[in-house]
Symmetry: C2
Subunit: 171 residues, 2 copies
DNA sequence: GACACCTGGTTCAACTTTTAAACAATAACT
DNA sequence: AGTTATTGTTTAAAAGTTGAACCAGGTGTC
């Protein structure tokens, strides 16, 4: 089968994306490293936990939301635990399980550093987007995620989690 | 000053972006590692060189286009040189300079692996975007880049390079 | 031209992260 | 009961990243 190359417009968009994402990730990493002493991924772990019911999430769920491997997450949480921002608890209804819990210290760190982070994100991204573009950005990214997530899977975002199977044996 | 938090729409868009970019970078890395034996960044080095006039670019220019530090680039090019995909040449009109040149082997590698890469990008991104969205994506990303690039700087993309100062002493 | 200062690029050592594979424990299915 | 699948961690190796230090060469000034 002959290759379906990118059209010139697509190429431009793709290059713009590559540049922007590299620059953005770099900026976020530096800003957070500076202010919170954490790389972006680690901050995301805390942020995700902070919004979860009861500030706790099972490792696999957390990994799924963040789109990283469990192995990578184990490493990250180990460090966050050492920093005192996260604590691990055993899962009572599934003895294999391990639950990451945001500590008060972690919450405090988050609250202390969130404003700076949000400001960075805003300046980098949202300050120059109109309503329409914000909406498009979401749609575009959701589409990408869906495409990459194996088509059978439902979209998994933080919002889905409170009702997910592993969260709690409420049934 | 009170924090300008993200609106719910912005939050959704931001989370969608975080998820998509993590997943995308991961996918590209794996696909390219598999097919070309290179991570995405390294592939981008080759791709950028392949489009430069005479398939060569000064290190600083290359770093600027790719939005990475010179240090990081030195490391990357060192490996690519060891692989035989890139060769370094001395810059004749500026004796400090070092020029990265895409070798024939590098070009061959690129040509061999480009179809698979493009196919991945297409499936992940462009297959589910319409014309309008492609255009928006470019605009959004260009805006981000501009915002992060220090406002004084002109946008630097591969397209600008043939005419850039360091490329050639044609003046 | 001598001086100071700026740039291009590399090197180094420390560190962090990532990966993949293997593993133990537990759950779930048949 | 006996597989098979999942959860989460561990391990060792490799890779990548960083920042600072550094050299060599350019640029500008007086």
């Amino acid at each position: 089968m002959t290759t379906r190359w990118l059209s010139p417009e697509e190429q431009r968009a793709w290059r713009a994306y590559i540049a922007a994402s590299a620059l953005l990730e770099d900026t976020l990493d530096r800003q957070l490293q500076q202010e919170a002493g954490l790389p972006h991924l680690y901050y995301s772990v805390l942020a995700t936990l902070s919004e979860a019911p009861d500030r706790r999430l099972r490792m696999t769920d957390l990994a799924e939301v963040l789109k990283i491997t469990r192995s990578r997450l184990t490493y990250a949480v180990a460090r966050l635990e050492k920093d005192g921002a996260v604590r691990r608890e055993d899962c009572t209804w599934d003895k294999r399980g391990s639950i990451a819990v945001l500590t008060d210290d972690g919450m405090a760190l988050l609250e202390r550093t969130a404003p700076g982070h949000v400001e960075t994100v805003r300046r980098a991204v949202f300050d120059h987007l109109d309503r329409e573009q914000v909406e498009q950005l979401e749609r575009i990214c959701t589409g990408i995620t869906k495409a990459l997530q194996g088509d059978g899977a439902e979209a998994v975002t933080a919002d889905d989690l409170p009702w997910r199977r592993r969260s709690c044996p409420s049934s």
